[in-house]
């Protein structure tokens, strides 16, 4: 019974968008704006999170091995390190490796290091990564007590502060996104509700000439979907283009060490899914909820 007139409803809902052109424009653009903010925020927060993870993964304790240690003592040291709580991985880096690293980071000035080729003044190093980089201080203390540890290298207070900030940042970010999603839902449904309230007379007349609630709902239901998806399409387009541009051009040029963005491929599709989902589901819910109160004539 419903499907017989589904085509009619389809056509009707589409026509209605043009009949109430101004309202449609206002709704769609409001939906687009709110989703643009939400989307932009999701992009920002997820990337900040990604960057933070990147920084955290870079946290390592460089354990300088005492020059007096014998080969088997060095090996023993490794297993001791591996047994320290919170240690994820231990990697050996010989003093020649270290020199090479230094050479790389000095770039064009590295020729001054040539003099060390014969007599390398550096230490062999164990590079220790942690399961939970935020507890670096504790791990460092444990490691210091191991034999033949000459010196530890890691970013002390600053790393700690950074972690405090990123932890707060992450909570704030998640809180804001949840808040923004509710706000978006609220704003979109408000806009759609107002446009439908403006059409209350129409709905009342439909009831009076014998249309069932289901019959009346259909075009509004579909209209809600159109408004939502049209409204989502715009920010998806803008965000995708902007993000892609940012990803391929700007970031590379800035060349900031730990500023790495999420690769667009799965990320932008996920984003599109979220936005279309919020847009259309809310569009539908808002229109259905707001016609409900006019369906009792």
């Amino acid at each position: 019974m419903i499907f017989k007139s589904l085509f009619y409803h389809f056509k009707e809902s589409w026509k209605n968008l043009f009949r109430n052109a101004w309202m449609t424009f206002a709704s769609v653009s409001s939906v687009a704006m709110t989703l643009l903010i939400l989307g932009g925020f999701i992009v920002m927060t997820m990337n900040l999170n990604y960057i933070t993870q990147g920084v955290e993964n870079k946290v390592e304790i460089r354990v300088h091995i005492d020059r007096t240690a014998e080969k088997d003592e060095v090996t023993a040291m490794r297993s001791k390190l591996e047994h320290v709580k919170n240690v994820k991985s231990v990697e050996f880096s010989s003093k020649d490796d270290e020199l090479e690293l230094m050479r790389e980071s000095w770039g064009k000035n590295s020729s001054v290091l040539d003099m060390f080729e014969q007599n390398n003044p550096l230490h062999d190093v164990y590079v220790v990564k942690l399961v939970n980089p935020q507890d670096v201080e504790k791990a460092a203390k444990d490691i210091e007590s191991i034999d033949f540890v000459d010196k530890l290298q890691y970013g002390k207070g600053f790393v700690n502060n950074l972690f405090n900030v990123t932890r707060i940042g992450r909570y704030v970010g998640i809180g804001l996104i949840v808040g923004l999603i509710f706000t978006t839902i609220f704003l979109i449904s408000n806009t759609i509700k107002i446009t439908i309230i403006a059409r209350r007379r129409e709905i009342e007349i439909m009831r009076l000439v014998g249309a069932t609630n289901a019959f009346i709902r259909w075009p509004f239901f579909l209209e809600g979907i159109w408004l939502g998806t049209l409204g989502a399409a715009i920010p998806i387009g803008i965000l995708s283009l902007a993000y892609y541009y940012l990803y391929t051009n700007v970031v590379e040029r800035l060349n900031v060490q730990f500023l790495q963005l999420l690769p667009p491929n799965p990320f932008l599709y996920q984003l599109a899914g979220i936005l279309i989902g919020i847009g259309s589901i809310i569009g539908v819910l808002a229109s259905l909820m707001s016609i409900r109160k006019f369906l009792k004539v």
Binding site: N20, E202, I205, M206, L208, V209, A211, T212, L295
Partner: protein, 228 residues
Amino acid sequence: MIEMIDVYKSYPNGVNALNGINIKIEPGEFVYIVGPSGSGKTTFIKMMYREEKPTSGAVLINGKDVASYKNSKIPLLRRNMGVIFQDYKLLTNLNVYENVAYSLLVTEETRTRMKRRVMDVLELVGLKHKIRMKPQELSGGEQQRVSIARSIVRNPKLVIADEPTGNLDPETSIGILKLFEEINALGTTIVMATHNKDLVNNFRHRVIAIENGEIVRDEVKGEYGYDI
């Protein structure tokens, strides 16, 4: 077909629009409702299609109390009748054809039969040439005729008309009344609230007069009455 038992209606603002109505209208009857402005005719009519519920008393349509209809079943009640509203109640978003066709659409009529039927009734009210116009582009009388066309397009067993000729010239009014008599002859019950003395007096049918929400007169083949 229609029975009202001790019907009272008070609006929320305190107006007592109906004060104890008892009436019985048999299938196939043609009834005029007359009475001064504000006497309760429209309220009486709204009881039948359940736009308003009686404050007390019962309104039976085909033996069933309309107050007992669940909200979701009211449309089914209304599908068995055609209503001409005093203020037309046309859908401003739809054109003339669509306004009339909407009544058939809601009952899931097939498209081809629908089209023929809609064009037929629009021809009857003389608006076949204006099917693409929106209500706002019509004169007052034309809007009223669209509303008349919509009420009869479903071939209802009951037509309820609230002042259907208020904006029509006498000639067109008589045409509409003859149309009503034709469908009445085919078995449709007609209930028509009107101020049109000439129509009531020239096309004699049962007359129910309402004053201050009470029935003051009920005559078979009556007259308009209020002579001045």
